[in-house]
Symmetry: C2
Subunit: 161 residues, 2 copies
DNA sequence: AAAGATTGAGTATTCAATCTTA
DNA sequence: TAAGATTGAATACTCAATCTTT
């Protein structure tokens, strides 16, 4: 059985036999899997009136634990987008009443972003569905294979982060 | 050694001990690795006056072999973006003289998109640097580990594609 | 009616500049 | 000066509608 990347590697082997394209066997597949996962999980988020960007912020606040509040800077560091993107995500979430922004008492420069009750309820509803979708996407791999895959990706991430 | 995802899993285990968040161990890492790879390879592309979108189109035409020509539909299928996005990528590449669009002789509806000599020269220059960047990003993994990782990702892709 | 390709409106991002407070 | 956060211009995408040819 072959996937799209096998075809790409074959083409390069034929057209540029002088080059070692083996890094693509990993890099190309990581990129494709990530995109396919994102497309599929987007459908689940959509069923809850969310998208990946919104869920990402709500989930980061939720898993931080009570009082479910973080600064925009902390949200930016946890995410993989710029501070400007976080500001705009917060605008949208606040307009929907899912988060509130409040000036931080101890530092006039700072802001606390907190989940509202509605925001917390929404992310708690969406999370089980999201996990079920991820589980379904991974169904082709056994528990042992998932463990191996996670371990290899962690080693890679440790070297990159 | 732990990565960002270990921290996320710990947080969820504390806040939602009722849920099995283990799918995130794979899905979260795939997403993060893909984003980090994309950010780093973008720097290489930029050094050649390219970005990921442009390189993707040029490389697809290049590895197709002589005469380095495909239809927009074929380019769309090979990519992971919509036909509208491909149209716009081709506008940009054509404006720079890296590809040319010509009506297909055998079917008035069709278009052939072909690399120009300049387009081919550019992708052939950028490709070795791109591979070197990917190689560097994977440096933490042995050859054997890369093989295992690629095999697991391929199995996943076969189930998803 | 369908296939191939493009268009334009709407959206979420990045980047650099800006504003406020420490 | 620096830190925290936001703003607005520029960019590349998606989605749905459209145009042309078969």
């Amino acid at each position: 059985m072959t996937d799209h990347v096998d075809g790409v590697l074959d083409q390069w082997a034929h057209e540029r036999p002088d080059l070692d394209v083996s890094p693509m066997a990993v890099a190309g597949r990581v990129s494709r899997v990530a995109r396919l996962f994102a497309a599929e999980t987007a459908r689940t988020f959509s069923a809850h009136g969310l998208d990946h960007a919104s869920f990402d912020v709500l989930a980061t606040l939720r898993r931080a634990g009570p009082p479910y509040a973080l600064s925009p800077t902390a949200l930016t560091r946890s995410s993989m987008v710029t501070s400007g993107a976080i500001s705009q995500r917060l605008d949208r979430l606040e307009a929907r009443g899912l988060v509130v922004r409040r000036p931080r008492p101890t530092d006039g420069r700072g802001t606390d972003v907190a989940l509202t009750d509605e925001g917390r309820a929404l992310v708690d509803r969406a999370l089980p569905d999201h996990l079920a979708t991820q589980e379904r996407l991974l169904a082709a791999l056994s528990g042992e294979q998932r463990g191996e895959l996670a371990a290899l990706l962690r080693e890679l991430l440790v070297s990159l982060e």
